[in-house]
């Protein structure tokens, strides 16, 4: 089963990933095939595993103590644009243009 163009387009919009060329898509196909091997195992009646450490891995609960902060200057250093202590972003998400309007190899498929 090959991955359809619709799904590839959907993935490019969702994850902002660029399959770039047929090699990229082929890599994805192979990854899916590899993962599909999991279906060969019969898991009827078996609880899904959360981690190989099973019961030994306990969720660590941290005390409600403030141990760091006051590093505004360092945090804002990464900002391309700032206004007072706010990061500046575009007014909203700029979604990837529709398939027909994009310059992507997927169009040809």
């Amino acid at each position: 089963q090959k991955v359809s163009v619709e799904v590839l387009d959907h993935l490019e919009c969702l994850a902002l990933v660029d399959f770039r060329d047929s090699e990229g898509v082929e890599r994805l196909q192979k990854a899916i095939q590899f993962a599909d091997q999991l279906h060969e195992v019969n898991t009827d009646g078996v609880e899904p595993m959360d981690s190989v450490l099973e019961d030994r891995w306990c969720l660590y609960l941290r005390e409600d103590d403030v141990t760091e902060g006051n590093c505004t200057k360092e945090l804002l250093e990464n900002a391309r644009e700032k206004v007072e202590e706010y990061f500046v972003a575009p007014p909203g998400n700029i979604p990837l243009p529709k398939l027909e309007e994009r310059d992507t190899f997927l169009q040809g498929s």
């Binding site: 959907h10 969702l14 450490l53 306990c58 609960l61 941290r62 500046v88 007014p91």
Partner: protein
Amino acid sequence: VLNRRCVEAAVMTGLALNCSINKKSLFDRKHYFYADLPAGYQITQQRVPIAVNGSLSYSLCIDNKMSQMVTKTVRIKQIQLEQDSGKSLHDDTRNQTLVDLNRAGVGLMEVVMEPDMCCGEEAAAAVRELQLILQTLGSSQAVMAEGQLRVDANVSVHHPGEPYGVRTEVKNINSIRFLAKAVDYEIQRQIEELENGGTILNETRAFDSKLGCTVPMRDKEGKQDYRFMPEPNLPPLILYDAKSLPANMNHQQVINIDWIHERLPDLPSVKREKLVEQYGILPEHSFTLLNEDGLAEFFESVVKQTQMKPKKVIGWILKDLLSYLKQHSLTVKESPVSSSLLADLLNLLEKKEISSTAAKQVLAELWTGEGKTPLEIVKEQKLELLQDQKELEQICQAVIDGQENEVIMMVPG
């Protein structure tokens, strides 16, 4: 890493809302892009949340009359722990969004209710009760204006007997009053749209408090695919109770549901019942007492310091004290009249040393907060009730003598 206090708060809130607490709950990643979500995903509990299947009871006044209250219930679908995003401020004039990341990553509880409410008034009453419960538990100070409690309203309409209609989600509601307005506006809008032959879009709308209406929110890119996946960095959250308590675990890492349950404070509904039972006041009085921060404590403090019966004290608290505070936009804590001053005044009244009219006069003087005691004011303004019969007769006679022509009827004694 998960903060222990968040878990305790969620368990307390779940118990207070009659939920089943899931002893094992899981964390997931919800992926989407937005400027206030720097990681590109939010950790939440999509598969198995910490608490499910609860209920919240609240009261409504019928026909705006406080004396006729009816109790309603809204089912709680679930409570989940999740991460907060940053805060976006939209600057339309400069075509940009300002993002404050201070609260990004901080834990929060989302309480999901079933669609059991039918109008703005019910939604407002339910949220108000939830607010009081959260404040009583200490889970949150729940001040909506400061974003400590945020409400998104999901609204749909349908003809009786038919399935629920398409719902819209209304955001940007900043107070309980606006919640009622937003819900009622949206119900009306949807009804009008349908009656005009239109359809309702499953969209997200924002409430515009200035215009009192809801508007479509921009940049909601249609139906989102969040690609939920288990959060790899957080293993399952395991909670214990008295029976399942592990023997050899560091107790700082253990959360015991029963231990928390035993230490739950009295919820507002229980406090109201106790006030009614202990002091003989009316149910609607207990609602008002709990509705104002500090008022119930003030009332009880006055009752302790005065011989006047609570049923009479409540009138002074709810009518005189509260209306004054409201007029001057003061909280109970800011009251220039303390509970002891009021108690002193009511004692004078109770001992019949002054009349109730005089008492109101003294109270008016006490509001100025000049520090005089009720007794001082009474003496200054000569408001004492005359106990001496002869003196009374003399005064009455003088008045009658002076007003002979006006005297039409005289009642002896």
